[in-house]
């Protein structure tokens, strides 16, 4: 005997008419949105706290004085003295930018080359393993790179750099940039390590960008009788230009923020800007890492927060610019 399911309102416990106050749904939704709100709050708090901690130094010396001097001499600081500002941060900005640019100059061409090879030349079975291997570089922790940099990279660089200082270092006018002596720890060494660390992400992005080239454009080029290299150069590269730039900007952002590996190989010469790329220096990240826990001088810690604040600002600008450039090609969380 079959029974019909009871109808609404017929006493089976289901009533259509009441708007059920869905507490469960409302609470759940609120909880999820709170978590999302937390993310926003975190970034805002970061900015607020950094500025707040920098405020004493900013007020004492005046905000612009930090950017006006490249001399960082905490031992010169006195509680009363306000000028000159002993905490000039220009050389840190210089160090950050210089090492990152060196890194990019090396990494970007390589990434483009590797990307072209993987998407355009390598046989299908080789693509995944190759991509995987390059990605593996990203998994190596920063401190390991720094360690290896000191004991393996620097000895290997000695002969190369001696050659460069001997040749490029002798050229009039720009020779100063390549002058010796080279003691291992230097902007240049840091730049090379940054190149290695930035390579995986720029390569991955280039791979994605090159892979979006429509197959028929590539086939049309080949059908015209172009060699494979010519096809890559005319069908893949030109349309990828914007993407490559975006990837480079993102790589730059990553390089700006790299701390430990750079700290270990740059020499931490905080006094002022040194001209040669083969001499020791410091970056914004490295000075914070080095001096933070021993910042006992007047306004020392506060000034380090000024450095942190500026580091955050330039990192954010570069990363947002990079994201916007790349987002047009691959959607992230959009």
């Amino acid at each position: 005997m079959t029974a019909r399911p009871a109808s609404p309102g017929a006493g089976n416990g289901r009533v259509l008419l009441q708007r059920r106050r869905r507490y469960g749904d409302t609470v759940f939704r609120a909880a999820m949105l709170t978590a999302a709100g937390l993310v926003v709050v975190v970034l805002a708090a970061m900015a607020v706290f950094l500025v707040t901690q920098s405020l004493p130094a900013l007020r004492h010396y005046g905000p612009l004085s930090f950017l006006g001097s490249d001399r960082w001499a905490p031992s010169d600081a006195t509680p009363a003295g306000t000028s000159p500002n002993p905490y000039g941060i220009v050389q840190f900005i210089y160090g950050t930018v210089l090492t990152s640019v060196i890194g990019l100059l090396i990494a970007v061409p390589m990434s483009v080359g590797i990307g072209l090879f993987i998407t355009g030349i390598a046989p299908a079975w080789l693509r995944r393993p190759l991509s995987y291997v390059v990605d593996l570089l990203a998994a190596i922790p920063s401190v390991v790179f720094g360690f290896w940099g000191i004991f393996a990279l620097i000895p290997a660089l000695q002969p190369v750099v001696s050659f460069l200082t001997g040749t490029l270092g002798k050229i009039p006018v720009i020779g100063g940039v390549f002058a010796g002596p080279f003691f291992g720890l230097s902007y240049f060494t840091a730049g090379i390590i940054l190149a290695i660390m930035v390579l995986p992400i720029v390569t991955a992005l280039c791979r994605e960008i090159f892979a979006t080239t429509p197959a028929d454009e590539k086939e049309a080029a080949l059908a015209l009788g172009m060699t494979r290299w010519e096809m890559l150069r005319t069908a893949v590269l030109p349309r990828s230009r914007a993407g490559i730039i975006g990837a480079s900007i993102l790589g730059l952002g990553r390089a700006f923020g790299e701390t430990i590996a750079v700290t270990m190989v740059i020499g931490n010469n905080v006094l002022s800007i040194t001209k040669s790329i083969f001499s020791t220096g410091a970056t914004m990240a490295s000075v914070i890492a080095n001096e933070f826990t021993e910042a006992t001088e007047p306004f020392h810690l506060d000034s380090l927060f000024v450095v942190a604040m500026w580091l955050l600002i330039i990192s954010l600008i570069v990363n947002v610019a990079g994201k916007l450039a790349v987002r047009r090609i691959r959607g992230d969380l959009a």
Binding site: R4, S7, G9, R19
Partner: protein, 283 residues
Amino acid sequence: MALAEPADPISGTTEPARMPGGNAVGRIEVTDLTAAYRGRPAITGVNLAMEPGKVTALIGPSGCGKSTLLRCLNGLHLIVPGASVTGTVHLDGTNIYDRGVDLVQVRRHVGMVFQRPNPFPTMSIADNVAAGLKFGPRSERRGRKLHEVIERSLLQAGLWEEVKDRLGKPGAGLSGGQQQRLCIARSLAVEPQILLMDEPCSALDPVSTEVIEGLIGALKHDYTVVIVTHNMQQAARVSDVTAFMTVSSPGAPGQLVEAANTQELFSQPAEQATMDYISGKIG
């Protein structure tokens, strides 16, 4: 098919409840229904009644809005952001789009089976069938034994014999036709009065299609069935009432042209447009 009587969770008796005044249970009446996505109407001015104990088929060329109409019957149309509805859909006298009505509750009365079978991939066959009960309001679980419900639903869906020994196996491991019957069982487990089917056989092979069409014939005794199909022969085979929808021009909102007993509609349609569609001139 021998089916166990579901116990009434309030009184504990197994007597089916009756409405005063007869057996009218699961009647849908659509009045002047217009459904739109972000302001652009997909269907306009639909008037249609679907009777319990009958299978109503919605046919028409692609893009005529038959799926949209179907989704308006259980409020699923409104899940898409920016969607809106005007007009009424009365379910046994209650307008489901009334302010006071909870659409989630409505869907306990109106089940739906989709074009592509979609069993929950992380759950076993038994868990799939029981999902509606397990994740639904506690009050409906009282007095019900899950394994009885599972067996009853699978029997109703004609799947019990094939899976009774492997209820713990993943639902995704079945064939297409079996998966669709699993989805039917899943819908039936919450004891709706009405079953909506959106082209349930279009992704299946002919043998599975035949099995499910046979199932529909059996289900109509206990449920009101509304089926959307692009296959006219199927509509002729399974339905008692057929409603024909079409668009006046590409991009225009869909409209209900006519609805009549299936026999009548296919042999002597009242409208020329229907005639054109049936004879293959359009569509």
